[in-house]
Symmetry: C2
Subunit: 181 residues, 2 copies
Amino acid sequence: MDFEEKVKAVKHIYHGHVVDLDLETVELPDGRPAKREIVKHPGAVAVVAITAADKMIFIRQWREPLRQVTLEVPAGKIEANEQGEPLKTAQREMNEETRYHAENYELLSTFFSSPGFSDEKMYLYHASNLTPVKKELPQDKDELLEIVALSRSEINAAIERGEICDAKTIMAVLFWQLMEQ
Amino acid sequence: MDFEEKVKAVKHIYHGHVVDLDLETVELPDGRPAKREIVKHPGAVAVVAITAADKMIFIRQWREPLRQVTLEVPAGKIEANEQGEPLKTAQREMNEETRYHAENYELLSTFFSSPGFSDEKMYLYHASNLTPVKKELPQDKDELLEIVALSRSEINAAIERGEICDAKTIMAVLFWQLMEQ
């Protein structure tokens, strides 16, 4: 079966700081036209970081799209000078958000966050052998962050009360569960 | 620590078929202003559906944001008349996409897909005791779909070759792994 949609026209609706929005007119395999709304994103990384005390590191922050405080694994978008090198993003974000250096990084998974309307690709790493960074990178001035390390039972409680509530972080928790088995 | 951002102004950039785009001007807790790009989405459901032969059901389709064919768990967005009743969406999407009726639905997880820039909330269900539907609902005319049932080893191969590549589907696979233990 032929699934491919041919792009007939692209209208750039918005060019932003984090996302762009395109409206594509495509031709379906049977020749009919259709519209596709596409949120362009530079990609992002997320990190499963486990301390020597067997706790997972989280970042507490305000998420304006959700109008709530969340606990998420350390994460951030891939900057222009890091394209094609997501590991650099992981190392930078670990420094900026957690102040930890990790000796080892293992890529656990890559995935698209919302394939129906966005091209955002996420690289999920497992960082181990953590030590405090020697040189602290400057933090994003628009981000107010708090570092939190949680045990397994504390993680379950945070999921129950809805503070851990996003895909990459729940995926990180599932990977950690599977790692121990 | 006070994290909350106060909304000072909202500019509606785009109103679309699947998403809307808002640009918010917020006031950070320390009083400084910041901009937030927010992709509004009505929410979605996804279903872990396991057949009597112990295979997981996937939908093969073209995803224009990724410019590739993917295998994803049955899923779809919550329609206006289903707001607050995501189980109805799950049942409808199962009928439209897989032609199966499930006797039992269990909510495995709810999560936000991309909390940095979108309010999209996903409800992930486990559907069991599948039987063919008695009455087939009409399919979305813009969606060309193929139903595929995969064993565990076939799933791993599809992840390896990048056809299974999105967050909710990889999460569904992880949940299935944990269910069997």
